[in-house]
């Protein structure tokens, strides 16, 4: 499943990284604590958060995440969008809150179990 598939399935709006939607999604990671994402996320994960500042792009780049979805109607700030475009990190937004968005992603087959 690619980021594009997720965008299509949920009608998510894109805020950055429109050219990088073909990345394969290896799983999902949900956290608003950057140190936690750095420690425990895996390459290719789709990251669900409400944090919208530029540091999220740095983290996504560092961990080679497939993309970031902001929930609860949050919008990335201007610096974040710019950085995301530079680094080629897709940023998507959803009006749903975290629990529900994750629930739905889970139902279409994205897992939160680490690859063995």
């Amino acid at each position: 499943m690619t980021v594009f598939d997720i965008v299509k399935s949920f009608g998510l709006q894109m805020r950055a990284g429109k050219d990088r939607l073909l990345g394969e999604v290896t799983g999902g990671y949900t956290s608003d604590l950057l140190s936690d994402v750095i420690a425990h996320s895996h390459k290719g994960n789709i990251w669900i958060t409400i944090q919208n500042h530029p540091n999220i792009v740095a983290v996504a780049t560092m961990k080679e995440l497939a993309g970031i979805i902001l929930t609860g109607g949050r919008e990335p700030d201007a610096d974040t969008i710019q950085k995301a475009e530079e680094e080629g990190i897709p940023i998507l937004v959803s009006p749903l809150f975290t629990f529900e968005l994750v629930g739905r992603l889970y139902q279409i087959g994205i897992s939160g179990m680490s690859p063995c």
């Binding site: 604590l33 944090q51 919208n52």
Partner: protein
């Protein structure tokens, strides 16, 4: 802002220690307890507690110390928070949802989503925020009781 010629039925003041992240909410919990024991309706208690909590968090995150006062009158609840600290350079910007000056440490502890002042505004009937750079911030908010008395 309604001037306090009203009959003050109750007044309490609490000290908030800046940097005391672990116990953020301890003071607003006490406020909640007072309001609950006084028999205010659930919605009033909740709105006041949320606003007080956000205000308390701001003092903890950004100020050296502060005081929170709760005043109860027959027609409204008033909370005043005065703190000593660096103050807010741009109050309008600070009120914007998602705007945050939180450093990494603050974010890692679960604070700094930038929703605090907006949450206060959402939950109160009147709000006044003023600040002096290098000195501190003064926040007041009022919640009307809509003709209901305590008890």
């Amino acid at each position: 802002m309604a001037e306090a010629e009203e009959n003050i039925r109750f007044h309490a003041m609490f000290h908030i220690e800046g940097g005391n992240f672990m116990n953020a909410g301890a003071i607003s919990s006490r406020v909640k307890k007072i309001l609950k024991e006084a028999g205010f309706p659930g919605k009033i208690i909740r709105r006041t507690s949320i606003a007080a909590f956000e205000a308390e968090m701001n003092v903890i995150c950004y100020a050296n110390q502060g005081n929170l006062s709760l005043l109860i009158t027959p027609s409204f609840l008033k909370v005043v928070i005065k703190d000593e600290g660096i103050g807010i350079p741009d109050v309008n910007l600070a009120m914007t949802e998602g705007y945050s000056t939180a450093n990494e440490k603050i974010r890692e502890l679960g604070f700094g989503a930038g929703m605090g002042l907006a949450n206060i505004k959402k939950n109160t009937d009147e709000m006044i925020l003023t600040s002096k750079l290098g000195q501190g911030t003064h926040l007041e908010f009022i919640i009307y009781l809509d003709g209901q008395n305590e008890g």
